[in-house]
């Protein structure tokens, strides 16, 4: 246990978590109103997640965010915001039948740009982070994320081959990776507490 950091009160922790869930639920509800609200709801989800990351850092770690992490959160936030805008736009253009033909490739590829940006932001963070322990723990969680994603993809792929599971698009690999990596980060943080 760390000696000179008073634990954040359970009340504050619970409050932050409740506020995060509420903000996400509100964003989803706004997004469901359709039209331009889909953008608002999507961007709201991104903002709520970033806000949760920033506030939980302040609350649980009692520490200002170091510059490499600040740059990472900024890049990640910009990438995910771009992803939301590009995805909503691409889907709505696709529904209007505008994704047909060779120009349709541009529309089909557009959402990936945001996700690739988010992946690159992790790479930039690893390159810029001067704290070796932060780098080491991140690399551990990235490896757990990789192992988890490859395992799930292999199992699902064979189930699919033998018609035992429905088809899943390969972009699902990113959210699966994020879940495994997030779980690993939580467990690793616990180990070094």
């Amino acid at each position: 246990m760390s000696d000179d950091v008073a634990p954040a009160s359970a009340f504050k922790k619970l409050g932050l978590f409740a506020a995060f869930i509420l903000a996400i639920a509100l964003s989803i509800w706004i997004g469901k109103q359709g039209g331009v609200w889909t953008y608002v709801g999507g961007l709201g989800t991104v903002a709520a997640s970033l806000g949760f990351a920033l506030l939980s850092n302040r609350l649980f770690r009692r520490e200002t965010i170091r510059p490499p992490m600040r740059r990472y959160l900024l890049r990640f936030g910009v990438s995910m915001s771009a992803y939301v805008i590009l995805l909503v736009t691409a889907v709505s253009l696709g529904r209007q039948g505008l994704a047909d033909g060779s120009w349709g490739y541009l529309i089909a590829l557009a959402p990936s740009v945001g996700v690739l940006g988010a992946i690159a932001s992790i790479g930039f963070y690893l390159a810029e982070e001067t704290d070796e322990f932060a780098r080491t723990t991140l690399i551990h969680s990235l490896l757990w994320g990789t192992a988890g994603t490859l395992s799930v993809a292999t199992i699902w792929g064979f189930l699919e081959t033998f018609d035992k599971a429905p088809h899943v698009p390969t972009w699902a690999a990113v959210p699966v990776f994020a879940v495994f990596m997030g779980l690993a980060q939580a467990l690793i943080a616990r180990r070094y507490r």
Partner: protein, 64 residues
């Protein structure tokens, strides 16, 4: 690997955050070092030794 970081820090009346700032690392890193759960690289170990103005082997003790 055992180390005397916590004692050295207490002697100077520094918090984990103070030491973290002087070494340009996060407070989590200091905590992981002090609890012996993470061994620093040579560059970080030398940096710590310079900060406390002590030889490395008086701060870190190899149990082997």
């Amino acid at each position: 690997m055992k180390n005397r970081l916590k004692i050295l820090r207490a002697e100077r009346d520094w918090s984990q955050a103070d030491l973290a700032q002087r070494l340009d690392v996060s407070r989590q890193t200091i905590n992981a070092l002090e609890t012996g759960k993470y061994d620093p690289s040579l560059p970080l170990a030398f940096k710590i030794a310079r900060l406390f103005d002590l030889p490395i082997e008086t701060i870190f003790q190899d149990e082997a």
